[in-house]
Symmetry: C2
Subunit: 298 residues, 2 copies
């Protein structure tokens, strides 16, 4: 048996950065008290989700890895509690570009490196292309103290390609810090409730790759421009068959923890045989086949 315990969290965010970081620390400590070894905080928890509108004044929220206060705080916390802590943050790169990034901190407080979000959404109320360059790191995996980790960031979660690549690289757990919600009724754009769709897509990644998967989403009502988003939480952990093992509420700030046996899952994946029966000779269209025009235009 090789047991590992994973936590999802969720919280509301204000424009008080110190307060947000303090609240994130409380969530990590609550997870540690529940024996979590890997704790997933939500996407961009230092601020409200400013991508709800396009406003250059938010560019100044970006920081380098070295100057980011959340990373500094979480490195100390990771070392203190011996817990793996991926931290989502708005990165200002040396060359002046900005990215939606994730700093992966190991259980001794070591900064293992940074992943830059590959897939960038650009539609009303999720105007990320205005703020972030598409990531240039490619998909990465992280050999942490407890397990090999694969991390995407939010919109990456809609792409089976990302989940599969991280799984091929050996990820034993896929993590997705997230910011997704429902526009309220007075928003100028009708969008269906994406919550079941959002969970179903990631449960599919877990099932297809037979890998644990966890997503932490924000809660709370946030406004910007003409939009009001009710972030719906529902952070969850799926097992290697895609079944939800933990699911949090839509409105409460919470922590959920689940323990898995990595040896059992490795045996299951080997017996199932999906990875050895892939047809890599047939997969070139994943790169070269362009979708029909009506799916490509805005």
């Amino acid at each position: 048996m090789r047991l590992v315990s994973v936590a999802v969290t969720q919280m509301a965010c204000s424009w008080d950065r110190d307060k947000n970081i303090a609240r994130a620390k409380e969530l990590v400590e609550e997870a540690v008290a529940k024996r979590a070894q890997v704790v997933l905080l939500q996407e961009l928890f230092e601020t409200p989700y400013f991508c709800i509108e396009t406003d250059e004044t938010y560019f100044k929220e970006a920081t380098s890895v070295a100057k980011n206060p959340a990373i500094a705080a979480m490195r100390k916390l990771a070392a203190k509690h011996e817990v793996v802590l991926p931290v989502s943050f708005y990165e200002l790169a040396d060359d002046g570009r900005r990215f939606n990034s994730l700093a992966v901190i190991d259980a001794g407080g070591e900064l293992l490196g940074v992943y830059r979000k590959s897939h960038i959404p650009d539609f009303p109320a999720y105007e990320e292309a205005f703020y972030f360059s598409p990531g240039d790191t490619g998909f990465r995996i992280w050999d942490t103290r407890f397990l090999r980790l694969g991390c995407g960031v939010c919109w990456d979660q809609w792409f089976p390609e990302a989940a599969r690549i991280m799984s091929l690289m050996g990820a034993e757990l896929l993590l997705y810090p997230t910011a997704i919600g429902r526009p309220t009724e007075d928003s100028p754009y009708e969008v269906p409730n994406s919550k079941p769709h959002w969970q179903q897509t990631m449960q599919g990644h877990a099932a297809a790759n037979q890998v644990m998967l966890a997503a932490s989403n924000r809660i709370g009502l946030e406004s910007g421009g003409a939009f009001h988003i009710q972030f719906y939480g529902s952070s969850f952990i799926a097992d290697e068959t895609g079944t939800k093992a933990v699911e949090l509420g839509e409105e409460e700030s919470q922590v959920g923890v689940c323990e898995f046996d990595l040896d059992r899952i490795a045996d299951f994946r080997k017996a199932w045989g999906v990875f050895r029966t892939r047809r890599t000779d047939l997969y070139e269209p994943l790169r070269s086949q362009r979708a029909p025009e009506y799916l490509m235009s805005r």
Copy 2:
């Protein structure tokens, strides 16, 4: 509005081929009575699932397209009722190779062509590598009278790559004829109940590609060698968010029908923007990255 009505079916199979074909015809007629325009029959319904064991005597069950009685019967039925009918069969190719194939019949009875199952399982009680060469057609889509169809066969359903490629090619509906079940307790090999995992994986394909998906599975207890499989039916149709819209029982021979508006789904897929935010520059590992050795060996 562009409405299309899709049916899933399920039945038990014996070694009386004529009887199996007659039962399949009844199911199609029941679906037509419920106004179905596309009817999915299960995998290899002309015979029991002989792949439960390895026995050369079953090689003789393979036929050419021209000589296959199920295809001939279903072509007549398709023309009579103006219904699209993909037919799974054991194909004997001109060069002597055998494939697990699908003949796609359009609503005028025209044979549009054949897809040969790409992914071949080879583990206890699903010894398909003994009977079938890996398909050499690649993934295909079919412009039928009512919609553009993508079809995989059974084990193909575990691969996000196949679903994505067919979606990129423009598939508006993904179909998977299937034969999957639980080994009974007296089988020499312990396997967990794969039903939720099986559904979850395909619901994930539907959700990630925002495409309708239907799977028809067999029912009944079948035995071969030391194995006894209880095929668990549970044929289902998922909508474009991966939510199950129709699900049949585990033991009953049944038909389930669901109607969709293709125009509404096309608008949804376009608005969602997944296809235009793919990162094809990062997907090469889907072909070149080899999974860890422990996932590749038997």
